[in-house]
Symmetry: C4
Subunit: 201 residues, 4 copies
């Protein structure tokens, strides 16, 4: 038998890491060099603002879903803890990959930067799913009486994130600008109101 602990401290720690990672994104924004006028300098830096907004929203959506997932997880064990820590590790890498992508938009290494950006998101969302897959396999970690249909629904929903980021990664090999399409799809998918309905506990 494993060492089962309540999840409140794990949620607390995860919330803190996600909040800090989201807030640190703004500190990566470059100071505009104003030789060409401030407005022009800021307009030229649009990739930084776009990447900042995308990554900020992404981390907040991840936080919201992470919190939602732990509504169904009653306790943790050593393995779930480690999977969650790996998820958080890739969350904290977001500020690094966001800056990397923004600095290379329209430059020779744009594709490589986009591949690294999407690759980190694939790994982050994959470990997120691993936490869930592990929890539903070890049924004693779930809240008692969690509806099986709901579990299947959430499993599908969560799997959308790494699937669409993997799609973005593959599209990147062919065209970097089009790789934004699966990411936008993901945003729409998570923001749509009928999603909320399905997720009613």
């Amino acid at each position: 038998m494993h060492n089962h602990r309540p999840t409140d401290r794990l949620e607390y720690f995860s919330d803190a890491v996600l909040a800090i990672a989201a807030t640190l994104l703004a500190t990566e924004l470059p100071k505009p060099e104003t030789e060409t006028g401030l407005l022009q300098a800021i307009v030229n830096q649009w990739p930084h603002y776009a990447a900042f907004a995308a990554s900020f929203l992404f981390i907040c959506v991840a936080w919201s879903n992470h919190h939602n997932m732990f509504n169904y997880i009653r306790q943790t064990d050593q393995y779930l803890l480690i999977l969650n820590i790996l998820f958080l590790m890739f969350v904290t890498l977001q500020s690094f990959t966001t800056g990397l992508l923004a600095r290379h938009v329209g430059k020779p290494d744009e594709r490589m930067a986009a591949l690294i950006y999407h690759g980190t998101l694939v790994l982050m969302t994959l470990f997120y799913n691993c936490v869930w897959w592990y929890a539903i396999k070890k049924k004693e970690l779930l809240e008692d009486g969690t509806d099986k249909k709901l579990i299947r629904l959430l499993t599908k929903e969560y799997a959308m994130a790494p699937a669409l980021h993997l799609a973005a990664l593959l599209i990147c090999l062919w065209s970097v600008p089009f790789s934004i399409i699966p990411v936008l799809l993901l945003y729409v998918y998570f923001a749509l109101p009928w999603m909320g309905e399905k997720r009613v506990k």
Copy 2:
């Protein structure tokens, strides 16, 4: 019907982002170059200290009001969550726009920097109001039996923030130094004791 969840985790996450954003402001203070003597260098950097103090106080006031607002909001749904996340996004941009403004005081791009600073505050306080407007429109999100007069009072009070920042933005087009007047008015308005009385729950 929507997915209604209690607001405690949302408040927790918002508090963390606001606390981090406020604390990070100090890391944007430039290291004084001491060729002209340390005291002189620090005196020359007064716009950085003034902008730091203004933004720190502003984020703390935003935290206080945000917390106050969620005394009346009982639960959240997907849309309220997204509006709150957009509010937080502009909060985290404060350290960027504060540094921008401070670096350009008394320089050619002063007006543009002030416009960006006030513009970000207009958007931040506007999304703050959107959270409130959405919550009072969807009455099931409010605490039961919240006094209608109180709701109207709070609605007016909260609307002061984007209105006065918009005024500051417009005054900027004519005179940057005078644009500080509506901001000071806002501070006085929120700090005055009779405000507290009105806000008694």
Copy 3:
């Protein structure tokens, strides 16, 4: 009558700001330039490590005392909130003044840097005391039945901090190295075991 609110969120926000301010101190440590060998470079940077340790311990002691003080404060109002925010503002300036002091040890502007360092601590601890003075003046903010002797004892104890930092500031005008004496006295004062006894609630 004023708007009285419970203090838990204020404590939470203060704790978060203090924890972040303490942790950010380490990010101000300069990267050693290794032209002269790493060990030598690190030894040469001793003022940074000493200042880091002093400021880290100081913020942690401030956290501990702040938490202790709010054991006796039952609720807050608008003014107490503002005094507490001003206390936090000077806490977040610690990383700035710590780096300033460390960079100027043994250099011409050493005295000025030390004056700024001690001056910030005087203001920080003064606002800390203002929170307490305000709370004990407005007796309805205190926990019912708080012992009057205990209040007087705490008032004296808390006043030691700005008094000793003011002493450090004044000694600085005469000799910078000796200005560390009142700071060390303060540490010993707060760390001594019989202090704990007196503070038993």
Copy 4:
């Protein structure tokens, strides 16, 4: 008699410092210089990514164990607080020593950087153990009825960390690459499932 206080605020503050220290590690990752191509630049920076991952995992494991330890500690006093603060101080130094080590891999000062890295970990884990040793010596700080066998088991388990890091430090004097062996052993030791079983409360 000492001043005994519940541990919840201490745990909260420690959690926050650990979460921030872990998240700040990513901000120390250097921006790749892309003269040689982005992929090559990133491959050349492997020591930074390896050191980031090692330190991130280490802080998360420290958090997990710290939280576990405080399951058995019922209250704190002044000394336990100070020992815990010293533990946290060395936690926050992790981002500094991690960057130091990563910048010197394969360079002349590699050994010195590794000695500093391992030395900081020895001190961090030693103060962690001091917290525990102090708590079990002052039995009134422990939860009532904590099993004596369990205490002995945890004491041995916790002592593994400074012992293995000291081993790494000593191996460093002879060979830097081999010094990673005790660190890996420590990871395996803490990750193994039978560890969890033993730690069941």
